[in-house]
């Protein structure tokens, strides 16, 4: 009895009762497809979150004030102190930021933006907001307090439908700003806000026209490289503590440093938990499919007890009977698993609850291995029972 013959026997056994075999395979199919697809959905949502966070810039840190109501301790002087080649060698740039909501008017059309940002020229790279058309403003513009502005895609579409906004002037709370550039479209909106609904102008101009020379909303610090982010965090913490006179023993600080890679880590952890949970639920359905195989193989063994008796009387060794039924069970689960993989691959082309699933290749291998293991494991009970039958009992069975 070679492998090929065992295989042929198994195919014949499966083919003998197509509906039953089909339904058993369906159980495994659903289990395997669920595992692969749900893990893919979890993975897809994790990637979506990662993309969003990466859009914020992974090598930047944002210093924000934590004091509520009262004036923020962050000032332009504090921001400039962070740009210190001795105490903070890994800082590439520091951009003090003031941000306010404002209503932009162009020839009688109004559009209110959530974020009218005033900052330095370095803000564009630090916040990962490249210029699409036109140009950004320069350090000279900031020093001179020129009223120029770079607008986001959404603003451009709202106020200047079908025309070139560059060179146009718009009014912001009575002050005229000249548009010098339009930001490139950002891929995904971060959270609830539309990332393209912004306007960025020189810090001095915004302070003069809108916010006044008070405190800053935040300070965006850019590290020289993504892997230096934690060093930069330590360096600017030291400077800020010194500058804002925070006691070394104090547990609370008047500022908070957020860094995108930290955020990314937390989110990834959450997404991983989510994926594991989904995978576990799907795993249960795979287990149920496996029990289905045991059930059907037990029925098959009972039904074919007489045949097993005949085979034994003709001299079939225990091992051959065992392999035959094991092969049958494994084939059921393997075909079911294969079809499940196919179903999952097809299913992953569709968006599921707003998430584009991203197949994890290892989950395919895992699901297939598990389905074979299920065949072997759940098939072994009925196969053992068949192989252990005494020929005389099996022959007498009616």
């Amino acid at each position: 009895m070679n492998v090929w013959e065992v295989f042929r026997f198994a195919v014949r056994g499966i083919g003998a009762n197509k509906l039953r075999s089909g339904l058993t395979m369906l159980g495994i199919l659903i289990g395997v497809a669920a595992v692969i697809l749900l893990v893919a959905v979890g993975n897809g949502s994790a990637q979506q979150v990662a993309d969003r966070i990466e859009a914020l810039g992974t090598n930047t840190l944002t210093v924000q004030s934590t004091s509520r109501g009262g004036s923020s301790p962050l000032t332009v002087q504090v921001a400039q102190a962070l740009k210190d080649p001795v105490l903070a060698p890994d800082v590439a740039s520091v951009s003090p930021v003031v941000s306010t909501s404002a209503t932009l008017t162009y020839q009688g059309t109004d559009h209110s933006v959530q974020q009218f940002v005033g900052s330095y020229a370095t803000y564009f790279t630090a916040s990962n907001s490249p210029i699409g058309r036109g140009s950004g403003f320069t350090t000279a513009d900031v020093e001179a307090g020129r009223r120029v502005v770079v607008i986001g895609q959404t603003v451009a579409e709202e106020l200047f439908p079908g025309m070139d906004p560059i060179g146009q002037e718009l009014t912001v709370s009575g002050a005229l700003f000249t548009i010098v550039g339009v930001l490139a479209e950002k891929s995904s909106s971060s959270g609830f806000q539309d990332a393209n609904d912004v306007a960025i102008a020189p810090l001095t101009a915004v302070q003069q026209a809108l916010t006044g020379y008070g405190s800053l909303t935040s300070i965006v610090v850019e590290a020289s490289a993504p892997e230096r982010v934690s060093d930069v965090q330590a360096q600017i913490t030291t400077i800020l503590n010194q500058r804002l006179k925070v006691e070394a023993t104090s547990t609370s600080t008047p500022y908070r440093i957020q860094n995108a890679s930290q955020l990314l880590e937390t989110q990834t952890e959450t997404a991983d938990t989510f994926t594991t949970l989904l995978g576990a639920v799907a795993g249960i359905s795979l287990l149920v499919g496996g029990i289905g195989i045991t059930n059907i193989m037990l029925v098959t063994v009972t039904e074919r007890t007489r045949e097993i008796g005949i085979r034994k009387a003709l001299g079939a060794p225990r091992r051959v009977i065992l392999t035959q039924f094991l092969a049958e069970a494994t084939m059921l689960s393997l075909i079911g698993g294969g079809l499940g993989v196919a179903a999952a691959l097809i299913g992953s082309n569709f968006t599921i609850v707003g998430i584009q699933p991203v197949i994890v290749p290892s989950s395919i291998a895992l699901a297939l291995c598990v389905s074979v293991a299920i065949g072997l494991f759940f098939g072994s009970v009925p196969a053992n029972r068949a192989a252990g039958l005494r020929p005389i009992d099996a022959l007498r069975y009616e």
Binding site: E5, E307, I310, A313, L314, G315, A316, P391, L395
Partner: protein, 231 residues
């Protein structure tokens, strides 16, 4: 040469009060080329004896030597080998594997013996030809008549060229014409020197054998050689 040698074999089913003594010390020796018919009423223990001779069941006590080998000392795997190589079975209810062609049924014992597929097919065809069913090789059991099915079963029993052919009421489910077909094959095989042991309760089937053993209540009542009655 002695093919099988049964010494004081007893078989008890159940225990204590409910114990049933199916065989009470049967001793029987069969030489090569013998054509033995075992007769007896139902409950006389002939089927039990048959199962023990076929290594399908083990005796409660006593010794059974097949080709000089004590069968009780063999393990599961060796018993399977003995059933495969030394014994050819023919059952009352044919016991062909369903949904499997006649040829594949005949090939089966050779498959378990590890014979190569091409050689196997050739030997199976020869065996089918011997029972006159060469043209029915590709038919499945449910497409064959009872007599044809039994002839396939005979071919299957013969194909491994076993030392002993065991037939348990081979004609019990057959009409008279098919019975005659099967018995004719047995006559041929016997003439060719095969050792045949046949269990029956039909006197005219028993009359075809060269030796008649009568069982009564688990014991041998008579054992005599006889002249074969020609068909």
């Amino acid at each position: 040469m002695t093919v099988l040698d049964v010494r004081r074999v007893a078989k008890v089913y159940g225990e204590g009060e409910a114990a049933v003594h199916a065989l009470r010390g049967v001793s029987l020796s069969v030489e090569q080329g013998d054509y033995v018919a075992i007769m007896g009423s139902s409950g006389s223990g002939k089927s039990t004896l048959m199962n023990i001779l076929g290594c399908l069941d083990v005796p409660s006590s006593g010794q059974y030597l097949l080709d000089g080998v004590d069968v009780s000392r063999l393990n599961d795997r060796q018993l399977a080998l003995v059933r495969n190589r030394r014994i050819g079975f023919i059952f009352q209810s044919f016991n062909l594997i369903p949904r499997t062609t006649a040829l594949a049924n005949v090939e089966l014992p050779l498959a378990y013996a590890g014979v190569k597929p091409a050689l196997r097919r050739r030997r199976a065809r020869v065996a089918l030809d011997m029972v006159g069913l060469a043209d029915r090789a590709d038919h499945e059991p449910n497409q064959l008549s009872g007599g044809q099915q039994q002839r396939v079963a005979v071919a299957r029993a013969l194909v491994t060229e076993p030392a002993l052919l065991l037939a348990d009421e081979p004609t019990g489910n057959l009409d008279s014409r098919s019975t005659e077909d099967i018995l004719a094959i047995f006559d041929q095989l016997s003439a060719a020197g095969r050792t045949i042991l046949i269990i029956t309760h039909e006197p005219d089937v028993g009359a075809r054998a060269t030796r008649l053993v009568k069982l009564f209540d688990g014991q041998i009542a008579s054992d005599e050689r006889q002249m074969r009655v020609a068909a």
